[in-house]
Homo-oligomer: 447 residues x 2
């Protein structure tokens, strides 16, 4: 028991998180037992053994997480948040029919500022409750997604959509690109919102706008995220149209730089894998979506082996149907082993890296988020492993990836501010979000 004087000599800080197991993700395999995170303002100030933390620091916001694993906040590297309102609207249907007969017509009918706001807030609530602190989003009205993210205190990387054809968001590629630049300009000094380009896919964006995007992204050093090589059909169509595989076309147009994030990538030959590694392009793996739409298998084991940076994404709720990075990590590990035929690849550690530091790398934020280190933003997730389904614990990272449920996420901080406490959302009204979602579904289903 420290004396009153000793206690008063301790420095007051904003928060102290005492963790049973702390996983910095700076080194594969590193598990710090009984360590504390000391948080000042929006930053991690120090990580040290809890007995030392108690000696030097005090805080009225001290969290005793004595059954918990504490990890960097999870990064969901691909999705369409507002599509949470289409969760379960179109299941058990192949990609082409799913898009052409269900999703695109419904989007045409329903997408609006209000739809995007309500859907994004529902999705953000789901992501925070399952431990995600940063998400990449590709959807219409990204300005409204930005507002929802700021209101909810979550970090968002918005890849502003670009298409050749008109939608409610813009009339032509010029206007899409202009709006992306405008969005970037509006948020360039905001540490919660990062803006990049989101050309939808090689088959929906032509050469001119792709080249323009490459030039602008290069100039501003911001990301380009694109759906590419999602299905064999896509690759065949491009080949019969231009004689090239989509990735070759992107290369010729100057897009293959470290700013590029290629989502899905189920069709890759060895040459393309080497090209990705050499050019520093990131791959965003979305295993649930690829399986559910029967799109194909991303060769994650080969990509890791070649040194390609792989991040992990849930895709939208319409093709998953959950924004749950714990389940997505488990699925990435399982399908990586199953598809390669090697049970030793895609370890629990590999997929946790994909969901944290690799996600940070692909946005260009590896200096700010993705690991727990002093001087980084305090984006932190705690998961309570004291449950029947996570007993016993041999290795907490294995337990986290292979056994924990999203409901075990107990605390989530973004920028040092607590968002989820004892499993409850602090800044969003759950009842209100659920009611709005059900109202949308009833309208959509009745149409």
């Amino acid at each position: 028991m420290p004396s009153k004087q000793a206690s008063e000599s301790r420095q007051e800080v904003d928060s102290i998180i005492q963790a049973k197991w702390l996983i910095p993700m700076t080194d594969q395999g590193l598990i710090l037992k009984d360590h504390s995170l000391v948080i000042q303002q929006n930053m991690i100030r120090e990580i040290l053994p809890t007995d030392e933390a108690i000696r030097y620091f005090k805080s009225s916001n001290t969290y005793f997480l004595d059954q918990h694993i504490v990890i960097p906040g999870l990064i969901n590297s691909h999705g369409h948040a507002a599509m949470s309102l289409f969760r379960g609207f179109a299941d058990d249907i192949p990609l082409k029919a799913w898009l052409e007969n269900k999703i695109w017509p419904a989007e045409g009918l329903w997408v609006s500022e209000e739809f995007v706001t309500d859907g994004a807030e529902l999705a953000i609530a789901e992501m925070l409750l399952s431990g995600t602190t940063t998400f990449t989003d590709m959807y219409f009205f990204p300005d409204h997604v930005a507002k929802a993210a700021i209101k909810s205190n979550i970090r968002a990387h918005l890849v502003s959509p670009v298409l050749d054809f008109p939608t409610i968001w813009a009339q032509n590629s010029e206007e899409y690109i202009h709006k992306a630049m405008e969005l970037h300009d509006n948020y360039k000094n905001n540490e919660h919102i990062y803006v990049g380009f989101g050309p939808h896919a090689p088959y929906t964006v032509s050469d001119d706008p792709l080249q323009k995007i490459a030039t602008l992204a290069n100039e501003l050093d911001i990301a380009i995220q694109i759906h590419v090589h999602e299905t064999a059909h896509e690759v065949q169509e491009e080949q019969s149209k231009s004689g090239k595989r989509p990735l070759s076309r992107l290369q010729e147009l100057g897009l293959m730089t470290p700013n590029l994030q290629c989502v899905h990538m189920t069709q890759l030959n060895n040459e393309e894998i080497l090209l990705l590694a050499d050019s520093g392009v990131s791959v965003v793996h979305c295993p649930a979506s690829n399986l559910k739409l029967a799109s194909g298998f991303c060769p994650t084991a080969k990509l890791l082996d070649a040194g390609v940076n792989i991040a992990l994404g849930t895709d939208g709720d319409a093709s998953n149907n959950e924004l749950n990075m714990l389940n997505e990590m488990r699925l990435a590990a399982l399908i990586g082993k199953g598809h390669s035929g090697d049970a030793s690849v895609l370890s629990a550690w590999d997929v946790l890296a994909m969901a944290t530091i690799n996600g940070a790398k692909q946005i260009g934020l590896a200096d700010s988020i993705g690991t727990l280190e002093s001087g980084k933003f305090a984006d932190i997730t705690a998961v309570n492993l004291d449950q029947i389904n996570t007993s016993p614990v041999y290795n907490p990272v294995s337990t986290l990836v292979y056994s924990a449920q999203a409901s075990q996420v107990s605390h989530v901080w973004v920028d040092g501010q607590i968002n989820v406490k004892d499993g409850m959302l602090l800044h969003l009204n759950e009842e209100n979000l659920k009611e709005k979602a059900q109202n949308w579904a009833e309208k959509i289903q009745a149409a």
Copy 2:
């Protein structure tokens, strides 16, 4: 408001469950809205619209599940319950090394009556909490698994292990078979415990005992469950030893009858699929285990197409690492689509059938469990869909399979008795089970 007299004329029953959505699983696609289950003793007496149920029946045990989907209790058709104590003990390792270097040595050191009791109770707690009401188990000391099941009020189908070599349970195949017969005799009048034979695999049980098992199982009309065609390696080894594929050997030995349950089945040619269909053999699909051990892909779409009965199992916690049939259904749907390349196969309804009525069929209990029908045992699971991650609901079966978490399982009944109420286990002490599990893990890890 019914008058006092009207109220008194209503018949008193043991329980009434008022459900928002009731899925009998008698007909694919049938969703009963605002219906009630009327339970008398251990049986479902009636299913009728809630407004009628209120008119004719009353009960002091009336459950108002107005945000819930109510389904037949889930049937986990393959596992090794006591191996819950090895959850996370050996991850990211291929099947052969996993068995030979990790699992078998650890079993040799640790398996005992006490280990099986503690492990089975932990597993049963996990299964009940995630909505399972019947499980098939293949493990040593099945008599102790029976006791744990009876204590916990869960239904168990125990396939008593048979091997050629000695273990702590028996010295030779004769003794294994004798113990299986004894177990069957002990529980033949028990409606919670069903006993069958569990010859481990074609490569661990020789022709003589397999033939003997076929004869006895046929005579008693009880099940035989066997791991078979789990990996390509297994099939190759058998072919170079006997010149036959394992399934052909089982056929020659007289095992291919409706009593046979073939677990895993990742290696199947078209002829074998037809043989399974013609002989009424069931397949038990364990997608998580097959992926995690990189064993291969069970061709579920082709099997369903041929009319083969497919049940669903989690396998043991050492290779999954959870006994969560909701996640297993989702994975079966996802991998079934991904592997076949057809997003329309393995629908949410198909996998729910695999986890309910198909499981009942393979044990020979289709007249007693697996659907919600009057005259069947009241084995019932309720899942609360009123959460952010299950909002909105377009089709509750899709929401259940693709979006719900096990933590949303709110109520579970077996034999009309409530086991889980508002997500809490009523007959097992969770704290005690977790503590025992952690003590085992510490001993095992220190060895």
